[in-house]
Point group: D2
Chain length 328, copies 4
């Protein structure tokens, strides 16, 4: 039977995402609610090894629920991948009497926590924070919904100028390995075509499709391209290919870039973060360890970290079909 936990630490690691602050707030307030202590760890695993800690109470996290980024900062750490690094971290946690750890981040973050747990049997719990939605065990990662709205607002703006000039726009959105952002924002932005890593429709079919929609009376078009798309080597090559093989359009490229990671979180992400923080803390208090909290069928559920890391987050095939029908 696990010892009762009396003091928790929380950190953010990897790429930041909107909602991380709301999750930190939730972890801290849930600790306060259950009258256990809570400390914040700055700069992810780097700060964990250096003992860059700060005690938190319910008031320490006021006015952050609506802020993008992470007040705890984030960093990637090579040292934590070594045995020596993890020993340092364990010692710092021991010195501070911390007996449980909540990590907010993505795959890499969870892998670090898992290895740490296996070495020291230290209770850990993961909260999936990344805009890419590429984590198995949750229908939505923290920040995904906000990023979708950020991207759609940008597409709406680009469409204004695209349709004023009969232009074809290639818009690159984030998503190195998965096309969730591209697929959802492509449908919502009224895109002609959506290019995602999971599907390779080929350059010829793309040009065919664009030609078809020109003939059907469309005077401007938007193609959403996920970063990780494999058709062209990159979006600028895509543009060149289309420039050479299609006439009548003035082709432009827009790479949305890092603004997709920022911004005040949406209502959905704030509520999700609040729920996940409660679930993570209370699961640790119940003696559970080595899980990721996630949203499955609108309920908070636990998935073993190992499965969360190894599992694949899959594209909703229904959305691919909807996208096809919508670009009729």
């Amino acid at each position: 039977m696990p010892n009762k936990i009396k003091k928790l630490a929380v950190l953010t690691s990897g790429g930041d995402s909107p909602g991380m602050n709301a999750a930190i707030r939730s972890v801290v307030r849930t600790c306060a609610y259950h009258k256990i202590e809570c400390i914040a760890v700055y700069r992810g695993y780097e700060g964990l090894m250096e003992g860059d800690f700060k005690p938190m109470n319910a008031r320490s996290v006021k006015d952050i629920i609506n802020k993008g980024g992470t007040i705890l900062k984030s960093a990637r750490s090579d040292e934590f991948r070594t045995k020596e690094g993890r020993l340092k971290a364990f010692n710092k946690l021991n010195e501070a009497n911390v007996d449980g750890l909540v990590v907010i981040g993505g795959d890499g973050t969870f892998t670090g926590a898992l290895v740490f747990n296996q070495e020291y049997d230290f209770p850990v719990m993961g909260i999936p924070g990344t805009i890419d939605n590429d984590i198995f065990g949750t229908s939505h990662t923290l920040g995904f919904d906000t990023a979708l709205n950020t991207v759609v607002e940008a597409i709406d703006k680009i469409r204004d100028t695209a349709s004023s000039h009969n232009r074809l726009f290639f818009i690159e959105v984030m998503g190195r390995d998965v096309g969730h952002i591209a697929l959802n924002t492509g449908i919502a932005g009224g895109a002609e075509e959506i290019l995602i890593p999971e599907e390779d429709l080929g350059l010829d079919r793309l040009v065919d499709s664009l030609n078809k929609s020109r003939k059907s009376g469309k005077s401007s078009s938007i193609v959403i391209v996920a970063e990780g798309d494999k058709i062209g080597k990159n979006i600028f090559e895509l543009k060149d290919y289309v420039d050479e093989n299609m006439s009548g359009y003035d082709v432009r490229v827009s790479v949305l870039g890092h603004m997709q990671r920022g911004g005040s979180p949406s209502c959905f992400d704030r509520v999700l973060a609040s729920r996940m923080g409660v679930k993570a803390v209370e699961s640790l208090l119940e003696g559970k360890s080595n899980f990721m909290v996630g949203l499955l069928n609108n309920k908070m559920e636990l998935t073993p970290l190992e499965k969360a890391i190894k599992g694949k987050s899959k594209i909703n095939l229904e959305l691919l079909r909807v996208s096809d029908i919508m670009s009729t």
Copy 2:
């Protein structure tokens, strides 16, 4: 066996909500995709009885996916509640060779469709469009997600001024019978208390709670009140009661009102609308009738209209608990 449908009509009725235009677009484009005809009906059941129709093709619905409101207009109709009214509508549909109807709206809209179907065996399919999320058979109604973000942005603005002045704000949000908007935006807006029709915590407990949070060091507070809350007769009475029974706060009221119904739909609502339109049209084409399409566990599902009308959309009790913990 049902006759194959060759021509569909689509209308919006009841209060408008963001995403209705995206749903209209989806219905029209799905008809085009399946090469069946589609007409739009203006002004809901009023226009249905008057034959206020317009043929639609894929291009008729361009540039509307991002618009709030409904291009088909909406209206409440007393006449359609009479046998004579419905006969008129049936005749108009027959004259126009329409053999299936998609209605977008709420409870009242579905009741009209159901009665019409029972009298004339006319194929109908419902799409839930209302910001209140008060429909059984779908986890999200069209417009709910957008309204949540609109409300949260307003709360964020009010919080700026509340915390600059050590003020207590009562903010009234929509939701006559259900507290979904209040509960979600209360959590996301960092509200001190959330008053919803489903729960009556009583005026004394409210004042106790506010006093407690003052003592815990909070210098300003926000209370979210659903329109349909039963504690005070209305939000201004609430203010008066608190003014009399609490000191130290400058108490203010803000009624967010109709702006909650408008605005460009969120990515979520646009994708949901697109999915629902496809499902509604294809279900009619498969010979189904008298259902509402809904989102259940992230999948498109059908619920009999009768159940959708009679069923109760329930508050997520987990959220009540999360709200309690967050206001620690």
Copy 3:
């Protein structure tokens, strides 16, 4: 000849407005740039009398340029209106070796500073911070531009639902004595009529005008009403009058309320705040006192506080005419 100033204090007072934080940041950084000390005063004149001070350096004001409200809090103070109150404040400033004061606020704030200066010959400089734009000596007060955008976004949302339902909306915006917000947002929001304190067109003419525009084919209408409008006793009486004297419209009221004061400042307000802070500090350093900094013809100019208080900010009559033409 004035002694060289070595230490400044800055405070915000009266109603808060977006851009106040950017102005505080500018005052603090301009002090740092000129290598003089700077302290912040919390809660306006209340904190001044209590010595609620905090030393500030360039880093103290990071990440606030984009925040609404005021990190220094604001409060109205009755005590500072008394000789005793002002003596307390003078003593506190002396104890802290402060030899100049920048006040950010409106009329009331400036009056306090003026009296204080007259009694103690203490160097003061004013920055006009209020969303109402009701200060003489500047074409724009801090927060006015942001409030205009906030109001216009709300009107856009309400228009979605107004035009979906053939409704007439009365929308109340801030502006107790002046109609700047109403006039600008009325034009920008495409309002049918704009009711401002400076003009009384009478209820009959309002109904005439609304009837005329109905006949010209408008199916929905929006009337913007400044808080301080004198036609009806209030906006709800206006609604009642129109309900009784006009048919065909479903009349609704929306009071935008306090959200108009909050929100992240616009680019214009952030730049204006930055310019005003520099001008205020450097004017004090040049030995000037008892002025308000303002924007006149796109340049920073000084206006004696006395004139700023007594002068009247006037409505641009050209805008009234433009509004008339636009509602053709």
Copy 4:
């Protein structure tokens, strides 16, 4: 003495900008107000030569004041630069009985109108529509204010992620020949440095400055770079140079691109567009020709097209100084 004008045409040409639709609306409604006819010309000078015209009345322009882009579309035209092209246009205008032309666009658009006027003595009036604010004779071009807010919102989002990771971001904003957008958004976005075409501070000084601000305690930094900046050949070369010559920062680049041209116009741009449309039409009705309407000292003023084209829009040197002080 000029003949009285009875029918006007309006077109948009060159790059689109937010507020163009509001200006079209204003031209059309001002014509309606003065009871003269108005036609719209599609696709700029291309449509002028082809007679791609549409009669407009007050209702034709409803619901466009808040839309980005231009409902009349825009295009660049080589043919209109030839005598033959302009003859075609003159003939089409004559056939349609048009006796005055309002053109909305930038330098190139005005040059076309000026030459056309010189050849045919055809009354023309210009409205400056471009986000770059690079036109002499107006303190603000249509769309500039909106673009500023769009850019600042993007910077705010990028700052979230920059400060979560101790990153240095180079953000490229529009402005090929002038630095107005860079300078204003740099100040408003709290940028460390602002690189504009008008100033060449040199790469070494840039690295010095960034090093200095690191030492002063800043953990993340943002540098705004105008498209037309001459320091590096482009922003990616800038990044490479800094990567090589500075350590400690993770350097990233973001090119904001075409989204800067779109979006719903700000209140300021909508009011400005409404004023400019009235002034343009009424000036033509007064027999004036060959002018551009502009905003000077908050008043509508006329500038001869020739001066508007040849004059230089200058950077406000005060802003450069404010920027320097703010990055203390």
